[in-house]
Symmetry: C2
Subunit: 301 residues, 2 copies
């Protein structure tokens, strides 16, 4: 039997919804701008309208929503995401569930993308995978035996808050010297401003590296060191079969991936050197929608 589910990618910029088949293909997709200046109730109504249209003519068995965190996946509540201003403790699953007669699930966007990459992207065929999105921030999702590890309070995969250097920079509500404060796109941009005096963020730093700018190359080199440390920690904690690296910063994959694989060896037990697989994500911006559609297909751990 064909299994079709709806995935919804609720982002701070766009609200996307689509019907996904059992092979991970998006059969139909709808996208509108997320009107974050309106009440959550308004956006939820739009979401319910999109779902209704998509369910017309498709036999849908479940609906999954991926959203920026923090959120409570067990209770289906959005807590207070920086990327969705005004969404304070919103019982999103209840609001959508009231409008449909199939099960509705919620998880954070990184966990959704992790599931998609594990099933249909760079993690497929592996017993376990750890998805890392390196973008404005750093997020993650750990998939084991085809299931997302949510954790007791839903905070598994919140690797951006991992402490790597207690005397390092502070950053929003994260720990001082967190992985995110040391190795995200924002941290590359911050160092670009501090060391090079440029305002163009990570993109400008990468551009300067390609032009042969040495101080810019040192910024990227530091980022690679912190990425290697963070990935080594994850290896010595859960030792996944593969790390899948996504997010906007990985568009500079040609500057990052090969030296990162090398640098990682410096922080691993000798027996693990050259054994740990790092692969670029394959599904790009579709991962969130596809992964959301998978939330109802597998149980979470």
């Amino acid at each position: 039997m064909d299994m079709k589910t709806i995935g919804i990618d609720l982002g701070g910029t766009n609200l996307r919804a689509g019907v996904v088949d059992e092979k991970g293909s998006i059969l139909v997709e709808k996208s509108i701008r997320t009107e974050t200046d309106k009440e959550p109730a308004y956006v939820i109504q739009q979401m319910n309208d999109m779902i209704k249209e998509l369910m017309d003519g498709h036999d849908i068995s479940s609906i999954g929503i991926g959203s920026p965190g923090p959120l409570n996946p067990h209770e289906g509540r959005i807590l207070s995401p920086p990327n969705l201003p005004g969404w304070e403790d919103v019982p999103l699953v209840d609001e959508v569930q009231a409008a449909v007669d199939v099960p509705v699930h919620l998880d954070n966007d990184a966990n959704a993308a992790a599931l998609a990459e594990a099933a249909f992207g760079a993690g497929r065929g592996h017993a376990s995978s750890f998805y890392i999105t390196i973008s404005t921030g750093i997020g993650g999702g750990y998939v084991l035996d085809g299931k997302i590890v949510q954790g007791a309070q839903g905070y598994a995969g919140e690797i951006g808050n991992m402490i790597l250097k207690p005397d390092g920079p502070s950053w929003s509500n994260l720990n001082a010297g967190s992985f995110e404060a040391l190795a995200s796109g924002t941290s590359i941009g911050r160092e670009g401003k501090a060391r090079l005096g440029v305002d163009g963020g990570a993109e400008e730093v990468f551009r300067k590296v390609k032009e042969g700018h040495e101080a810019a190359a040192l910024i990227v080199d530091d980022t690679i060191t912190y990425l290697a440390m963070g990935i080594a920690n994850l290896t010595h904690i859960v030792n996944p079969s593969v790390f899948v690296l996504g997010g906007g910063v990985m568009q500079a994959e040609d500057l990052l991936l090969v030296p990162l694989r090398e640098r990682l060896n410096d922080y691993l037990y000798p027996q693990l050197r050259n054994q740990v697989k790092l692969e670029p994500a394959e599904l790009g911006t579709k991962a969130g929608l596809i992964g959301a559609a998978l939330l109802g297909r597998t149980e979470a751990l």
Copy 2:
């Protein structure tokens, strides 16, 4: 039907073997000194003799061995444990398997203890648990859904090598500023020598704290900070339902546990504060043997 299995705790000091029933009770136990000055083949022969005696009169369905690491649980090989000098790449499972007709399993001692605490100790009834042994070194074991997470190369739970402070002390073959170098019994002893000039290791530092010695209290306070950071990292990575704390250092539980629960809050996302459970281990030195007996009862992840 009664399920009985044999657990073997191969330590650097003692070799223990016992028959464990389905409730986790040890029905019969044998213990001898581990003759580490002899060849591994000699010790394995002793182990096989103990197994033969234990199998007499008991219907045994599997045998599990817990050993110091590093080892390869998938291939059943002991690699080169510092605590078992001379055991270089020993195919232990093959050697024992040749002598019996029930399945033989191998995992490291911390993973075995983690399984035992999850099934019959402080982790029972929880969906997931992370066992941390704080002793000469720091080890760990992550149990999810009743199964030990071994990882792709068997290095899951090797949390002693987690980097917490890259400019921190170096330590055997671990990363500079590793969790073990900052928060183990050995590190407490090292700081005792450096700051107090005492040679009695962690025990003497704890004794001095109880006598009201302020500089000794500061050493313990630093240890609590690093333990809190390490546990916060594990929380933001896998968010287990409970942390189970064992090992020799936890004999000073009265000095550690209450302040550690408090300090942990400093490094957690606000929504997680006072939500993360830290519990002392319950099975003591029996955990290794009981957990080894469980290796064949559940699949590993």
